[in-house]
Amino acid sequence: MKRNNIKKLIKFIGTYFLIGAVIGVIIGFVDWDILEQMDLLFIKTLFVGKIAPILSVVTGLSGLVIGFFIYQKAKKDLVHCNEDDLIEIEKKLDYATIFVSIATLLPMIFYAIFIQGVIHNITYPNILLLSSIWLLICGAFSILLQKKIVELVKEINPEKQGDPLEKNFSKQWLESCDEMQKNLIYEVGYRSFTFSLSVTIVTLVILCFIGLIIDIGLLPVIIVSILLVLQIFSYYFFAIKLEYKRKS
């Protein structure tokens, strides 16, 4: 058993040394002069000034349209369905929720990128008003569609409680869930936590390597580091809190 552990440890460390060596060789061969000569500013101007507002509209619109289409399909299927079909209809509504989330988040991200262009005078300020109005419209329609989806879920599952427009919606929804639904929520929560933790660590490592090539400043690394610390400490904070709550 001990020999197996030592072998596993050597394999684990060896793999990481190998990955590090490969990345080191790649960076070593990077031609610094070529990077300086590349007109990276042109790419930044094009993306931030022109492409970002377009992407804001495209992602918002496509998310809303697809989400609405799936919602309508689920609503239509609900009219003439039997008990066994309800699981497929609920799955459709889950997908609709994903697209509504895309329609909410991505336009916001591209808008934030676009704002940077306005601040650094590399975009058209008159597009700023249009982009701001679009963001508000997109957000409003996303919320309305999300409310419609929740209402349809409540029609299928009448025991569910909560209004997405209310502040304590998550708490009400969770309290109206039974043992199976709560188990599912907790399992999903844990899996998404471990996944996002891995992604955050990888992002931090990538930012460190990018920082060796381009001057990205200290802020991205600091922000990602803070997120990493918050993720880890919040997990242990709630774990200890819930454990003591159970014991008392």
Binding site: E83, L86, I87, E90, P158, E159, D178, E179, M180, Q181
Partner: protein, 72 residues
């Protein structure tokens, strides 16, 4: 974990739908559906509640069969 069950048959014998049966045992229609499909193993409390509705034992409704990995 393999946990086969005859819940659907017992429920059909009572002519009760998943929604109404769920209300009897204080769970959602979704949970009853997943139990019948074998995609969810109920807690001990829920299994006892279900058995009580039909006035049978838990073993009459839920059948546990060891799979090959557990036998080793």
């Amino acid at each position: 974990m393999p946990l086969f069950n005859k819940l659907k048959e017992y429920r059909a014998a009572l002519s009760i739908n998943q929604q109404d049966f769920g209300k009897l045992v204080n769970v959602s229609r979704q949970t009853i559906s997943l139990i019948e499909r074998g995609d969810y193993s109920p807690s001990v409390t829920l299994a006892l509640k279900i058995a009580k509705v039909f006035d049978v034992t838990v073993e009459d409704i839920f059948i546990y069969e060891e799979d090959e990995n557990e036998k080793k």
